[in-house]
Amino acid sequence: MTSLSNEHLRTLVQPDRVHRDFYIDPDVFDLEMDRIFGKIWLFVGHTSQVPNPGDYITTTVARQPVIMSRHRDGEVHVMFNRCTHRGAQVCLEQFGNTKRFECPYHAWVFHTDGRFAGAPYPKGYEDGFLKKEKLDLVKLPRTEIYRGFVFSSLSTDGPEVDEFLGPMKDHIDAFCDRAPDGEVEACAGMFRYRYAGNWKLQMENQTDVYHIMFTHVSTTDDDGKQFRREGAEEDEAGKVKVLADNQSLSEQWEELPLGGHRHGHVFMGRFAMDKANQGPVYDRYKAAMEESYGDQAEENMTVRTHNSIFYPHWSIQHLTQHIRVMNPISVDCTENVIIPLKLKGAPEEMWQASLRSNNNSHSPSGMVMSDDMEVWVRCHEGLKTQSTDWVVLARGMDEKYSGDNQGSYDSKGTSESGARNQQLAWVDLMCGES
């Protein structure tokens, strides 16, 4: 393990700038894996990815291969994908259904809740050894589920998930409460892709309003509007106004609400659309919502946020409806997982539109993501130069803290407040003060 002192780590993050080593130093990365990813609550998956007993997915959490499975009693378990005998991964399929996990090496078997189910030729062990020894697949130290969102921590210590999420729980609620059935479903698989850049470059990008009209200008038509991102084909739906009608920067971006809370969580308000979503499909959605929620329906249908970014590595995008997980692979490689979410009980046409929108914007060929990834790779390469040590994040230093005990603040527009709030959490975690 590296010997970076807290004093050194603190010098990397200044109020309005960060040192390039924050992004490119492999020792900093190793320490992040230990002190950030090794400590706090990480997103593993959604319970709807394993709807039936015996269903499982394999995934990676903080570089650890894990299995999330549903046992025959309905409980969801998260355990390391490592045989307790000689260490082989017991399952390599991305998803499936099984009665038991069987290691390919010596056929040790495990139940779908991780319990050791036996080893061939047990007489080769001393009497009672297999019973006495702890041979179950090892669970991640802590796992909690909130409205189907499965979180694990690689550490036994630290705040409870409720406390860690704080006011960000409202963002999960707001998303789930858009569904007439009050649930979301991850039932369409996922996209996976990688870019050659540090994970924080993407985390900081997600509330960066400043880049939208430049990085994504090629997604706009002659009127400065983006391709359709929401609403069933049969309905009228809004397009994001990336540029104003005069093709200049749109003032609307400067008014977009931004905010965040302690632990590095941030969010960005809903983008200005050229018109409201309306039509026969939307009417059916509205009727289903009114049946479920009565007077509360309209409030639940009102989408106020574009995205909600949960430190350190995942987000909900409310517009196209997906979870984005950013898995750090190495200091200069990040793997993205995009998991579309269906609003259960909403008209099928809305879901089809959302799926198409995810294909168009956030697949490996996605017209939004590909320009973002290009930029993050260029940042990472550029930061390797010895030209200057500092990355300037001095835009819109206007965070207005509410004074609550959640570190909540408001900001707006093209402020770089989101990146700064994540960096405050980074310092606290890296220096062991969170």
Partner: protein, 156 residues
């Protein structure tokens, strides 16, 4: 007939390699689509996510973007080489005026000192039109469809 079908597929590949997006889109019927599933053995593009699932309108949006001066992911632009092989006419598709063609497809892509190769099985549904063909749909099943990708810009 086989020779005409081969010529159609070769020409389609060449249009992509020559970045003649509009000519490529014009091969498709008005209700045509281009589909690259993200999972093997897909039957319905609305069941799972897709790497590409473009109707003509979206193809046009995507390809207008490729012509945009500020498409950063293509500055500099990729060079591609589409190789079409193993062309076979399906004897199971029995619709008057339509021909289902199987082929294997490789695309090599070069950008920023890096060469990447993709491969998969392609299907083209050709409709006879004006003494030639139009493309009712094209589907490409990549062998790595559910793998980890780097950003893609050029159709397979």
């Amino acid at each position: 007939m086989l020779s005409e079908i081969e010529q159609f597929l070769y020409r389609e590949a060449r249009l992509l390699d020559e970045r003649r997006w509009e000519d490529w889109i014009n091969l498709f019927a008005d209700d045509g689509y281009y589909w690259v599933p993200a999972y093997p053995d897909q039957e319905d593009p609305y069941k799972n996510v897709s790497i590409f699932f473009d109707d003509k309108e979206l193809m046009t949006t995507r390809l207008n973007r490729l012509n945009h001066p500020d498409i950063h992911a293509q500055k500099p632009a990729s060079r591609t080489l589409h190789v079409v092989s193993n062309i076979e006419i399906s004897n199971e598709h029995d619709v008057e005026g339509e021909i289902l063609v199987y082929s294997t497809l490789q695309m090599m892509e070069f950008r920023l000192d890096k060469q990447t190769s993709y491969g998969g099985r392609a299907q083209h549904l050709l409709r006879e039109k004006d003494g030639g063909f139009e493309l009712a749909w094209k589907r490409v099943d990549l062998i790595n469809c559910d793998g980890v990708f780097e950003p893609l810009a050029i159709p397979f």
